[in-house]
């Protein structure tokens, strides 16, 4: 270790004692920063013009190293972002995106978010400069249980910012490892866990599809399509008892929609009667299930296809739908956003 240090001529002893007994570290850290800045300047100079594919983060951080004055503003910005519930730090919610975007890879999604995150600060540079104090205040607010422990850090931050903060220094040799698309093997989770967001177990495509029995009342595997009569199960949110429809009896989505309306109206009525004591307005019920296909009603119709994916009804030609549909479901529209449609191997949501 020591030999490594002396070879490089870096101020190694300065780096000792990161967490000192008596907070000496904060002082030392400042020294190290000043001393280390020449090293970091060297590294800065090594940053050549970026190659073809760079992370947006890299570009943004490179910009930031040149704009030290704005780093304080950046800090203020981030701290106010933090105290606003950190919405901007999170990935965009599903409501922000059309359903189809759920298909995009994890990598591009996160990538896009970084674009957002990194480019925004620059547009906020006009804001009145928020001093490190606000950062400290924000830090206090946002981390209540550890606020006493964060005190040390606040002092460190104060000192750290009096010399302009040296920001991160990525080297240009890292260009090689920046990939434009999804990164293989990242994040490092086993394939068993990969499809959990869609709610299913990860089934390798080569496996024979297994029928998963459910313990929701009455659910049994869907019947296979035969020459005549294609009976598929249809369930509706809030209704524990499902129905079966014969898809061959219809030749269009509109007819199917009407039939589904009728099927469930009765059931909903019966349910409401038993719950609410029979004072329901029949007309209200009838309205409820209309608008299944055009997105205007309270409910929407989805189906599960032969690959196990959950799909919105109405996208493909009717005959194609009939040949791939395995079961139907009527969902509340409010629940739609909570699902990720179209991703592989959906888990069936229990009624």
């Amino acid at each position: 270790m020591e030999s490594g240090c002396s070879k490089n001529g870096e101020a190694c002893p300065q780096f000792l004692d990161l967490i000192p007994q008596q907070r000496d570290w904060h002082v030392k850290r400042e020294d190290e920063r000043r001393h280390g800045s020449s090293e970091e300047k060297k590294l800065e100079l090594r940053l050549g013009p970026p190659g073809e594919d760079n992370w947006s983060i890299k570009e943004a951080t490179k910009n930031n190293t040149r704009e030290r004055d704005e780093s304080l503003l950046l800090l203020g910005y981030f701290s106010s972002m933090k105290s606003n519930g950190k919405q901007t730090h999170k990935l965009p919610t599903p409501e922000d995106h059309p359903v189809g975007s759920a298909l995009s890879t994890p990598w591009t999604k996160i990538h896009q978010h970084n674009h957002q995150q990194q480019t925004q600060p620059q547009s906020f540079l006009q804001f009145p400069s928020t001093s490190p104090q606000s950062l400290l205040v924000a830090a206090k607010e946002s981390s209540q249980p550890c606020c006493t422990k964060a005190v040390d850090f606040q002092n460190a931050e104060k000192k750290a910012f009096s010399p302009p903060a040296n920001t991160a220094v990525p080297s240009n040799s890292s260009q090689k490892r920046t990939a434009p698309g999804p990164v293989v093997g990242w994040p490092p989770v086993r394939s068993f866990r990969k499809n959990l967001a869609s709610g299913s177990s990860s089934k390798p495509a080569s496996e024979t599809p297994s029928v998963v029995p459910h313990k929701v009342a009455n659910e049994k595997p869907a019947t296979q399509p035969s020459g005549k009569g294609l009976l598929v199960k249809i369930n509706m949110d809030g209704v524990p008892i499902g129905r079966k429809v014969d898809l061959r009896a219809y030749d269009s989505y509109e007819k199917l929609s009407t039939a589904v309306d009728e099927l469930f109206r009765g059931l909903l009525a019966a349910q409401r009667d038993s719950f609410a004591g029979g004072t329901e307005n029949k007309q209200e019920e009838e309205k409820v299930v209309m608008g299944l296909l055009d997105g205007s009603g309270e409910y929407t119709l989805v189906y599960e296809d032969n690959e196990g994916d959950r799909m919105l009804v109405g996208d493909v030609p009717w005959h194609m739908f009939v040949s791939t549909v395995k079961r139907l479901r009527v969902l509340k529209r409010s629940e739609l956003s909570a699902l990720s449609l179209g991703s592989s191997k959906q888990r069936k949501i229990p009624a």
């Binding site: 870096e10 999604k109 981390s143 991160a168 090689k176």
Partner: protein, 582 residues
């Protein structure tokens, strides 16, 4: 007179049996290995009395040598593929076949009783051979293995008459949905542990009910998702002595009869300390388990994405004695705050990512981790997938929890800096290694320069395993680690700018380690060749999935994947085409 001359008193005045008895108290593999190095007579006594052997790399030694040295072997643990195989970085068919081991052991006189395999290829033939060759075989544990089907399991069930443990963890099993469970004969009543949670197919529900009913010693039962709720209730009625339960499908209607029955069945299970599964679950179902939460020490909800923040926190508030918690990041930072204020005994926390397609579900940040560190001072093992991390948070965590043995942080966005300061996370990780003097395993992520490796080399004296991805600036980074971490055994690196200079600086170091993995780095074929020449005791494998023709000619070409390991038996003979051993 067996005292001999007092002036030249030697240790071998103890008869062998006495030493053997003393050695019985030494169970750790490391200690037994040390014992065997003391002198020839201790070596001899130790090897005859050794019953449990751990082989961390199945290619480092041969089954024949194992058998020759330890004739009393009863329990063998073998590991095959490198760790990064978990993340699809190692092609299938790379290797790690268990069959030669079982074949050799079967031919010998070894009375194998326990076999534990990790990341190995296990065929049905090997399972069948295993089941028929060892009369006293008691325990089979397969972790992250592949290559077998339920037919192999049927053979184990049918032929291992005294089977106590069949534990399948996260294996890729081809489920033929045969009646493997029915293969357990009626006379089999010895089961203590049965875990088939990773199987995807249906099982014969009657068979599992009967099996549990005739297994009075059953302590651990983990079901797969094909086992429905009311079967679970029946099983619990038969096995109130369970200590460890993994539910299968946990979906039901809370107003149903089945639900009430389950509640009363669970209440009888006063010994359950460990709970997992919930492979299918809905929030309203969880209240059924509240009665047993107070005594739980291990809770694994990491396969239950249907539970969101509030559901999870409501549940966790009942679990005051938790020591280990595996959970999805939908718990959120606030949820982790609840964990921190409830689970004061917490030692191990694993927070897995629930959303890998970026649909914007809840995730955790540095806040959650800081809450945990403040509330759970006994924390010593962490696996944390998060959206972001700050140096400040890591420094705080390091101060609050100096007892980390395992610290694995994965920021989902590689090379992401501290979002507050825009700096690399060198200081934060530096604080961790400086504070946690007992740190044995570390995984890094986020934006990192050579600096973090300097810290690691200086402070991480007990570090045995280090995983690095998208980090560092130059060879110096890798050198700091190789020079500084004296106890390093496994080093795995991907997508870092470390090249030949770092690789070749101290070739002897690799003999002190189990293995080194480098992929998408700057190491060239020439560098690997040089290393292989200098160190014949190492096996240097180049894993190359693209066309071999052009590749083999150019020493300057960068190597896509290199895996090297020390070995006593030379190059393996079972390497596939795409693996080139230098």
């Amino acid at each position: 007179m067996f005292w001999g001359n007092r002036k030249t008193l030697k240790m071998n005045y103890f008869p062998d049996e006495v030493l053997e008895h003393v050695f019985d108290f030494i169970s750790s593999h490391k200690d037994r290995n040390s014992v065997s190095l003391v002198c020839k007579s201790w070596y001899k006594i130790e090897r005859y009395s050794r019953q449990r052997v751990f082989i961390g790399n199945c290619y480092s030694i041969s089954p024949e040598r194992l058998i020759a040295r330890f004739p009393g072997l009863k329990s063998l643990t073998l590991k095959g593929m490198p760790h990064f195989a978990d993340f699809n970085l190692v092609p299938h068919d790379w290797g790690g076949f268990v069959y030669p081991w079982i074949k050799a052991l079967a031919k010998s006189r070894i009375g194998l009783e326990e076999l534990r395999l990790k990341r190995m290829v296990v065929s049905d033939e090997s399972l069948e051979l295993l089941s028929k060759s060892f009369l006293n075989f008691k325990s089979l544990v397969l972790v992250s293995c592949e290559g077998f089907t339920t037919d192999g399991l049927a053979a184990i069930a049918a032929n291992c008459r005294f089977l106590r443990e069949l534990d399948l963890q996260e294996n890729e099993v081809d489920d033929h949905r045969g009646h493997w469970l029915s293969s357990f004969p009626e006379s089999c009543t010895s089961l203590v542990s049965l875990n088939f949670a990773c199987l995807k197919g249906e099982i014969n529900l009657g068979a599992i009910e009967r099996l549990v009913a005739r297994s009075p010693n059953l302590k651990s039962l983990r079901l797969n998702r094909a086992v429905p709720f009311d079967t679970l209730q029946k099983l619990l009625m038969q096995a109130p002595q369970l200590v460890d339960l993994g539910t299968g499908n946990f979906v039901h209607d809370p107003s149903s009869e089945a639900y009430n029955k389950l509640k009363s069945a669970i209440q009888r299970c006063k010994s359950i300390r460990s709970l997992s599964g919930f492979l299918e679950v809905a929030p309203h179902c969880m209240s059924a388990i509240y009665p047993i939460c107070a005594n739980l020490t291990f809770l694994n909800l990491s396969y239950a994405p249907g539970l969101h923040g509030n559901d999870l926190t409501k549940l966790i508030q009942h679990c005051r004695k938790l020591q280990r918690l595996w959970i999805l990041d939908c718990i959120g930072d606030k949820g982790l705050g609840v964990v921190a204020s409830t689970c004061k005994e917490l030692q191990e926390l694993r927070v897995f990512p629930s959303d890998l397609i970026g649909a914007g579900n809840a995730a955790v940040t540095e806040e959650g981790l800081v809450h945990i560190s403040a509330g759970c001072p006994k924390l010593n093992s962490l696996l944390y997938f998060c959206q972001q991390m700050t140096n400040a948070a890591l420094i705080t965590v390091a101060k609050n929890c100096p007892n980390f043995i395992r610290f694995r942080l994965c920021i989902l966005d590689p090379q992401k800096p501290d979002p507050v300061t825009n700096q690399a996370l060198d200081e934060g990780f530096g604080a961790i290694v400086q504070s946690c003097k007992g740190l044995k395993r570390l995984s890094l992520s986020g934006l990192l320069t050579d600096q973090v490796f300097l810290y690691i080399g200086m402070y991480a004296e007990q570090l045995e395993m280090l995983s690095i991805a998208f980090a560092g600036d130059s060879d110096k980074g890798m050198l700091y680690v190789l020079n500084g971490c004296k106890k390093l055994r496994k080093l795995e690196i991907r997508d870092c700018p470390f090249g030949n200079e770092a690789l070749l600086e101290d070739v002897g170091k690799y003999e002190t380690m189990r293995s080194l993995w480098m992929s998408s780095c700057e190491v060239t074929l020439g560098g690997c060749k040089t290393l292989a020449e200098k160190m014949p005791s190492l096996s240097v494998e180049i894993i190359n999935e693209i066309e071999q023709m052009e590749f083999s000619l150019d020493d300057m070409q960068k190597v896509e994947k290199m895996y090297l390991y020390r070995t006593l038996v030379g190059h393996r003979k079972d390497a596939p085409e795409f693996v080139w051993i230098l």
